[in-house]
């Protein structure tokens, strides 16, 4: 990649903007990262990117703005992502579109290409996964594909970066050429398209000049709802179009939109046949055997259980060990520093502030972050990259239907065990608003890794592994129950599962580690300083007695209703800020790491349940407001608080009956 330099300032550069467009999971974000040196998150399942991202690179004297778009199958206006992508393309802002194509699924990928050609935009194709295709016996002749389509086609490897210099060179040299011509469709369809586009051209419908009349004609034939919305004057053509659509339907016996889809696919079939060879070698590869096993109707569930159980168990086991080692080491260190400070003749109050406030905070934060949060992300990154998540979604589809959702909802839910913020954003992989809103309300009730620290640091540590598992199970039951309620209560439709199954791949350790670090970074750079500052603050405020008053003010609730020790008010307050602070602040406030000295076993259970459910943290609330508006966020927070109180109270009563 000799010619690249990322985002440096330079005068006299020519600026161009290129957009990365393609089906989901074809490597757009991987290519984007290669080009810009940024870190868009990447994962082996469709729908990883849900928002537009931008970055720049400088190449051969050009300053290139690269735009990463969510993956789409089509430019019909039936999903939000498609509308976003389409509006962006139509805005005329990109000079050129790099259409990324998965060589293993040429026909399906070219469907979008043809629609881009219909729009009359400048295009360059980037053919990814060429090696994989070759291994499967699919040989693509890049030159003849390029000839057939009339578009430059460049074979790339988004992962290794090979071919992307050529790709950028082609992009630059085509940034100002005339857009390619779309392939011709069947005779009748072409006749209707030209009839309508003639009518569009000869009358002023207020359509910008850069829009192709043919594209609008095709959209009108397809019955695209948004085109009419954007250009209301086109409704003059209503009658004409209705007649034409009736004629088409009469001749083909199919809805006009289906007719046009068929026309596109038959054009694609022609192109693919003359530019690629499929060697008849349908031997099942090893990865195909694995794929078959993963979705097996019985073994599939067994594997799912093993994968999830193994994941949680190893996080707890390994995390517990690491955290023990850290704690031991830090305790020794704190002791020694404390003694050393005292021998220097420093006042005990100051020493308390330093040792308890700062060192203690650092120690607790490190043992939490390193042991559990890092491990959670490691496990999630591995699952994401292998392509296992869509398989799990397939297996769990029937169960998710009981919640009014479908299998894909499993992905945000599992991500929720890492952090609620990305989980809330990834709810966008659901198709309808109803599903997204329900899912967002559920996802925040799943214990994120910071809340798992509470489950592990209290329940598991003092009451055993089984009790901790019990809390996780209870949480799942609560989520299912609330899901069913919301599904019943909310109007609106939900659609069934339609999801592409990506190929299973071995994960690349380097990529997984990098991604784990990118996700954990936040905890280290924001969470850790906050914990230290919070510890310091608590230590300082302890002297003034201000904290006692605040905690006391909460006591009618904490002690009165839930029967917990008054001190846990601290956890509740700081947990609203960040969940990983809850336990550390409690330890600092109560001046002990041994929670059994301040809570009875029953209190621990009630405390853990309440802390897991009670309210999203500030960062999650901000994400919720951005995606789902203030009203729904408020509802979610209120719902969580109510559910947490009810469940914790029920647990308190139940436990007092038993013990």
């Amino acid at each position: 990649m000799g010619g690249f330099s990322v985002g440096t300032e330079n005068n006299g550069e020519q600026k161009i903007e290129i957009a990365l467009v393609g089906n989901p999971n074809v490597g757009k974000s991987t290519l984007f990262n290669q080009l810009t040196g940024l870190n868009q998150s990447v994962g082996n399942y469709p729908g990883k990117t849900v928002e537009i991202a931008r970055g720049t690179l400088v190449f051969k004297g050009f300053r290139i703005m690269v735009v990463d778009l969510p993956g789409i199958y089509s430019l019909s206006a039936f999903s939000d992502e498609e509308v976003v992508a389409r509006d962006y393309i139509l805005s005329g802002s990109p000079d050129l579109i790099v259409n990324i194509i998965d060589a293993m699924a040429l026909e399906r990928n070219l469907y979008l290409t043809l629609q881009l050609m219909e729009m009359g935009v400048r295009l360059v194709l980037a053919l990814n996964f060429v090696e994989d295709a070759k291994r499967k016996g699919i040989e693509i002749d890049v030159n003849s594909l390029s000839m057939e389509l009339g578009i430059p086609v460049i074979a790339i490897n988004a992962m290794s970066g090979s071919g992307i210099s050529e790709l950028m060179a082609a992009a630059i040299s085509h940034a100002e050429t005339a857009p390619p011509k779309r392939p011709r469709y069947g005779k009748e369809v072409e006749m209707h398209i030209s009839e309508i586009s003639r009518a569009i051209r000869t009358t002023d419908f207020g359509i910008p000049v850069n829009l192709s009349a043919e594209w609008i004609a095709i959209k009108l034939l397809e019955g695209d709802p948004i085109i009419l919305e954007r250009f209301p004057k086109l409704s003059h053509l209503d009658n004409k179009i209705r007649t034409i659509k009736n004629q088409l339907e009469m001749v083909h016996g199919e809805e006009p939109s289906v007719v046009i889809a068929s026309e596109r696919y038959s054009a694609i079939h022609r192109i693919v046949r003359s530019s690629s060879v499929m060697h008849a070698s349908p031997i099942t590869t090893r990865s195909e055997k694995v794929e078959a096993l993963l979705t097996h109707r019985y073994f599939g569930y067994l594997i799912l259980l093993l994968v999830l159980g193994g994941m949680f168990f190893s996080i707890f086991a390994v995390g517990g060990k690491i955290s023990e080692i850290f704690d031991g080491g830090f305790n020794l260190l704190i002791d020694q520093i404390g003694r050393a400070l005292l021998s220097q003749g420093i006042a005990p109050a100051v020493m308390d502030l330093l040792v308890n406030g700062i060192l203690f905070g650092v120690a607790a934060a490190l043992s939490i972050v390193v042991s559990y949060i890092f491990l959670f992300y490691l496990a999630l990154s591995i699952l994401e990259d292998t392509g296992y998540l869509p398989r799990a979604a397939f297996l769990l589809d029937s169960i998710m239907h009981k919640l009014g959702l479908h299998g894909k909802a499993f992905i945000p839910m599992l991500l929720g065990y890492g952090c609620s913020v990305p989980a809330c954003i990834s709810c966008k992989i659901m198709e309808t608003w109803k599903e997204r809103m329900i899912l967002a309300a559920l996802v925040v009730m799943i214990p994120c890794s910071a809340r798992s620290v509470i489950i592990l640091g209290v329940t598991a540590k003092y009451l055993g592994f089984a009790a901790a598992m019990g809390i996780y199970l209870l949480d799942i039951l609560v989520v299912v129950g609330i899901g069913r309620l919301l599904f019943r209560a909310m109007p609106g439709e939900s659609v069934g599962l339609i999801m592409e199954m990506p190929r299973i791949r071995l994960f690349k350790p380097r990529l997984v580690l990098k991604k784990t670090w990118l996700n954990t970074k936040d905890f280290v750079y924001i969470g850790l300083p906050l914990i230290v500052a919070g510890s310091f603050l608590i230590e300082a405020l302890r002297i003034t007695g201000f904290l006692d008053q605040v905690v006391l003010a909460l006591s009618p609730f904490t002690y009165g209703i839930l029967g917990m020790p008054v001190a846990v008010g601290i956890s509740i307050i700081f947990g609203m800020l960040r969940k990983e602070m809850a336990l550390v602040m409690l330890a600092t406030y109560a001046n002990t790491l041994d929670f059994s000295s301040i809570m009875s076993p029953a209190q621990m259970v009630v405390f853990t349940i309440f802390m897991v459910l009670y309210m999203p943290c500030v960062a999650t609330i901000a994400a919720l407001i951005r995606e789902y508006k203030v009203k729904w966020t408020f509802f979610i927070a209120a719902l969580n608080l109510a559910v947490a109180t009810i469940v914790a109270l029920a647990a308190r009563i139940l436990l007092s009956l038993i013990f």
């Binding site: 199958y73 293993m104 289906v258 589809d397 029937s398 479908h406 299998g407």
Partner: protein, 145 residues
Amino acid sequence: MFSIICGAMSFLFGRKPNGLSMNKDGGSRCSAASSGPEAKESSDDGEEHDLGIINEYYRLSKRRRYSLEELLPLSALEEGQKGKIVLAVGGRKLISRLCDLGLIPETEVKVLKKGLMEGPIILEIRSCELAIGRGIASKVLVKPL
């Protein structure tokens, strides 16, 4: 007058003007379908919606290339069985999504996996693997191959 229109149509579209005759044809077939026994037989596993779909097919489709007995909903195919798509019934949104993914009439599909308990189905279509819910699969009519 009628023959002129027919002539014009066959000239324009290169086909017989079968729009009108189709209507008659469809009418008689529809009554055959509603008289029942055949339709019931074809949905042998007793799933009620099969019948609904097949009637729907007769009502909607103007190009009845296959007879009723030859067709099955996609959800009725066994694992490993292949079929050719004839028609999908559903809302605009669903149909459009299916078209985008290549599930259009005359396309060959193979059922790779059927989920447990009315779970989804994994299809092989245009050399991609696609999971679709059972509900959607029961709205797609195929001719088993």
